[in-house]
Amino acid sequence: MSAELDELYQSIILDHNRRPRNFRVMEDASTHAEGKNPLCGDQLTIWLKLDGDVISDVSFQGSGCAISKASASLMTAAIKGKSREEAEAIFTKFHGVVTGTHPEDAEALGSLKALGGVSRFPLRVKCASLAWHAMHAALLRNDAAPAATPVSTVSTE
């Protein structure tokens, strides 16, 4: 068994893939955005409920690979109850860890650090980032409300 694959597909990742948390449509969301990866057909929607500056609820739905699904699931747990700025700051740290540019931030990520193994698979970084870009787009869209067109994000890193 390959050690790098063990690191990529840790049991927490496989568990979140199989039993994604906060996997539901949110009817009363403040904002939402879709993330799409046309290359592999991954597609998910992130819903956020904002209570002032705080993300009081977050959910997602969609289909994708284990990495993108687990990342979305872990993200919902990580940003619930956080302020917008805190959520964006976690995204920045997360991005540095999955791209391998700031591996030292992994410990600060809590259970999200399970996705650190992605840094050894550059082709999978966009899978891990898909939900996060959608979250970011949903926050931007809320700023620009009322949104005229659906927002889709395609991560290019």
């Binding site: 496989l14 290359l39 592999c40």
Partner: protein, 411 residues
Amino acid sequence: MRTAGAGFRNLRADFPLLAANPGLVYLDSAATSQKPGVVLDALRTYYETVNANPHRGAYKLSGAATEAYHGARAEIARFLGAADVDSLLFTRGTTEAVNLLATGWGVPHVHRGDRIVVTRLEHHANFVPWQQLARAVGAEFRICELTKDGRVDLDQLRLLVTANTKVVAFGHVSNALGTINDVREIVKIAHAIGAVAFCDGAQGAPHLRVAFDDLGVDAYAFSGHKMLGPMGIGGVIVRRRVLETMHPYQFGGDMIEFVFDGDTTWNVPPHKFEAGTPNVEGAVGLAAAVQYLDALGMDAVRAHEVALTRYAMEQLAAIEGLQLYGPHEADARSGVVSFNLDDIHPHDLSTMLDVDGVCVRAGHHCAQPLMRAIHQSATVRASFYVYNTEADVDALVESLQKAKTRFHAHA
């Protein structure tokens, strides 16, 4: 290593990339093939001994480049069974060839109320140009559906091809399922009402003997890089009576005859459809590739692939939870097997196979309308070519078994 198909030697040594990577199991030839040393040598020799801009110079070297370019055209036309050498138009590949047909032939010939028919098997390059042509001119765009095992439903096609149908565009071989279409029957259906029949041979020309003059199609498009040639070269052979009615779709360079202040006249085909400095390197490389395929013999290439595909289908079918898509018989396919394993996303499978040195394609294979029809967002595709052996299939199967174990360990 064992190799499938009697009398076909293991060819890895002919392919520098494969020879340099003994552990690599390359199963993505439907995306692009590896290149034999003779093709790489031809590119180098061309630049070292011939390079100049063809057609333009009145000096010997330019004459040699012109000769190399047209010599390559003749070689490729011969390989594809077209006696009319100048009816072979070079393009960057199949995608550009279909766009050339949809624009250069489609715009002057397809009008509001006309019908364009394609099949559910098409990859985007032979789907979207026709869809967009239909939108631009107000024509009706219809898609012929498939039978349960992934073949074009010819009975439905007969109903869809009505008197107002101007073109039937279809692939020779499906890149996603490997299905080989009945070209002659589709041509018969199109020609019965006077429609033209355009065949996308991106996945056909590398694997099957193409006898253009006997096939009956009005145009046959192909890509060089999928048939052992370089990237950025391909073309389309167009039946003369159709070619004569096509408009150029790019302007500049050799395609021009005389330019006046108010209008311009065109050079004759094939130059009329080859604007700008041509890809002489690509043409020369592709000519070397078809000579290599010729030396193997396309019948032997086909026999090798059928044997390998049959072996792969048997081995894969034995993996519990593996779902194969497409025709059930190996000889109804080109060397392509498309599948999913349990609920493991193809992208995850591809990463796990990659760690074992097994290169497969995971995704929708640029055939989203087809993926929707088989109710999958993506599949894993293993595609074979002349250099693959049964050992490659064994490596694929072993790696899939490992991936299955890994994925279900935490269930």
